[in-house]
């Protein structure tokens, strides 16, 4: 995929990048004045029409392509935009191939950053979290696990100055039917937000069967994210552990912000329990989110965990290098990149104004 190229009728208008996605590249595109998000999959690849490979080779590659299409189209069919909460899911518009390569088209959501979600008042936080849980409910009610729930896959929108912040959930390419995950080598997910059972599954330590990976795995990630939206930081964990899942697997407690109400800390503890069966489902969460005390941050902090990662801003720089490019200068894909001075941390929460 190259900037300026036409793919599926959409003209690629930004430099493709693999930023944020290990096995795909993406860019923004445009057709009939409508702007879209184009994802170009690096796998599978179809044999070229003029391929001189053996029939067996072509057949095996096409088999992988058929499986890929089936999995994606199944999820696309199950996620209906008109269902309750469905408006908060950024769903795929099209899946197609051109040449050897598969592409997926989704709506482009303009985003900018919310630097300090913890500074929102409790009403705003409540709406923010509620819309996120409602989005997830739509997946969980039909038995679908998001599979890669993390801050980067939640876009925050604010339609007008006086409106509340709401969320849109994106990227369902790692989704799977609850209890039926891909094999351990292929499963997606992010080590920072992955659930303890996900981590053990990936490690193939023999303690986790595939049916252990259910919608409860998303709840673990949601617990970490809720802590972030409420306090501005992810929960901490002891030195010597690489992730929350890592610590929880070792039965070490996560460090939660002391400013949170006790009800909130108990809720997040439950959401991040080691046992998937102990975590509340989305319906229970929606009920708990009715309690306004959940969103209150008291003044004194017993502990302030580190903000998520230490993301250094990569300001757009002129460059010849771009993916599958013809030497044109890449442009930062977001409409506005967060700009911050050295030492400050970038929020992964993006807002559409």
């Amino acid at each position: 995929m190259k900037r300026g190229e036409v793919v599926g009728g959409y003209r690629v208008i930004t430099e493709p990048t693999n930023n944020g996605g290990g096995n795909c590249v993406w860019a923004f595109g445009e057709r009939d004045k409508e702007q879209v998000f184009i994802k170009c999959f690096l796998e599978p690849k179809r044999p070229r029409p003029d391929s001189t490979a053996s029939e067996k080779s072509k057949r095996l590659r096409l088999q992988a392509c058929e499986e890929f299409e089936k999995r994606h189209r199944t999820i696309m069919k199950m996620l209906k935009p008109d269902a309750s909460g469905g408006g908060n899911l950024v769903l795929a518009k099209e899946l197609f191939y051109e040449g050897s390569t598969y592409y997926k088209i989704t709506e482009r959501i303009e985003t900018s950053s919310l630097a300090t979600p913890a500074d929102l008042d409790s009403r705003q936080k409540r709406v923010l979290l509620r819309t996120l849980v409602l989005s997830l409910k739509q997946l969980h009610d039909i038995g679908v696990v998001h599979g890669d729930l993390k801050l980067d896959n939640v876009l925050v929108q604010k339609r007008s100055k006086r409106a509340f912040y709401t969320t849109k959930l994106i990227d369902f390419d790692d989704s799977y039917v609850s209890g039926h995950p891909p094999d351990a080598e292929s499963i997606g997910g992010d080590v920072r937000f992955g659930a303890p059972e996900w981590q053990r599954y990936v490690r193939q330590d023999g303690s986790v069967r595939p049916d252990f990976l259910t919608t409860a795995s998303d709840i673990f990630a949601l617990g970490l994210m809720a802590h972030y939206y409420l306090t501005g930081a992810l929960p901490g964990f002891p030195d010597g552990y690489d992730s929350a899942a890592d610590a929880v697997n070792a039965e070490k407690p996560l460090r939660l912000d002391g400013r949170l109400a006790s009800e909130t800390r108990e809720l997040i503890k439950a959401m991040t329990a080691r046992s998937p069966g102990s975590r509340p489902g989305v319906d229970v969460l929606l009920e708990r989110l009715r309690d306004e005390r959940i969103f209150v941050l008291n003044k004194k902090s017993e502990f302030t965990p580190s903000p998520p990662g230490s993301t250094v801003p990569r300001e757009p720089k002129p460059s010849r290098v771009s993916t599958n490019m013809n030497g044109k200068r890449p442009v930062a894909p977001s409409v506005t990149e967060p700009v911050k001075s050295a030492g400050k941390r970038t929020s992964r929460v993006r807002i559409n104004r």
Binding site: N18, N19, G20, G21, G22, N23, L42, E43, P44, K45, R48, S51, T52, A53, S54, S57, L60, R61, Q63, A64, E67, G99, S100, T101, E185, S186, D190, V191, R192, Q199, V202, R203, Q204, D239, G240, Y241, D242, S243, A245, D246, A247, N249, A250, P308, G309, T311, V312, R314, K317, P318, S319, R320, V321, S322, T323, N324, M325, N326, G327, P330
Partner: protein, 237 residues
């Protein structure tokens, strides 16, 4: 701060193997100097980018395959290191890279596909939890087809070379492949190569492959290597 490359007792252990296939013919001099400089800071820069994403590399190994043209001069057509652990073998890695000299090459196409084949056959890590096997090709030229008689006649031509690009694709592999050398979920190929055959075809048809364009004689700007490092780091997720 604890050295992030020290193997952790807990968590997912990432083993990252990277093979640099570097065209060291004369026209690559501007690129080679920057590759040399970047190679020496590569570990730190990669670690830094990975840390931003909360990922820790438990083991990093780098191998270099430097290539020219078997049909032009068999004696200097291919030089390769073994896999070198970083940081423990950083000085050996630095020494190998520093002694590379841009010269020779003869005609325009080079032996890039042979170098890629050698890289595919490298002794990749097979343990730990999450493995990433990355091949990065730096060249400003097209490649001779595999199986060219002039190249095969060279007394230094590696044994067991594929005879065609189709055979090389089978070694690279794909999902359900029964003959692949590379581990499908672990592998990544990053091409810094011209928009011409065979590189365009490889970028189009091979899975888990990304392509950056290169132009003969142009230097590799510092920020472009940053993007390449970022691309490599992003591909490790």
């Amino acid at each position: 701060m604890e050295n992030a490359l020290v193997r952790k007792q807990h968590g997912l252990a990432y083993a990252v193997d990277i093979v640099f296939c570097i065209d060291v013919t004369y026209s690559m001099e501007p690129v080679l100097e920057n590759v040399k400089k970047s190679a020496l800071t590569f570990r730190d820069r990669l670690e830094s980018v990975m840390r931003e994403d909360g990922k820790v590399i438990s083991q990093l190994r780098i191998k270099v395959v430097a290539f020219r043209d078997f049909a032009d001069n068999a004696d200097d057509a291919l030089e390769q290191s073994g896999f070198l652990n970083l940081p423990e073998q950083a000085s050996e890695f630095a020494h190998f890279v520093q002694k590379l000299r841009p010269n020779g090459g003869g005609d325009i196409p080079e032996s890039g596909l042979e170098a890629l084949a050698v890289a595919i056959d490298a002794d990749w890590e097979s343990g730990l939890d999450r493995r990433r096997h990355v091949i990065v090709v730096f060249t400003d030229a097209p490649a001779h087809p595999l199986g060219t008689p002039d190249a095969k006649a060279a007394n230094t031509y590696p044994k067991g070379m594929p005879e065609s690009l189709d055979e090389l694709l089978e070694k690279w592999g794909y999902t359900h492949s029964q003959s692949a050398t590379m581990e499908n979920s672990a592998k990544r190929l990053v091409l810094f190569a011209p928009d011409c055959a065979p590189w365009m075809g490889i970028a189009e048809e091979w899975n888990r492959t990304m392509h950056f364009p290169s132009n003969a004689g142009d230097g590799l700007e510092e920020f472009e290597m940053t993007e390449i490092i970022n691309t490599i780091a992003n591909s490790l997720t």
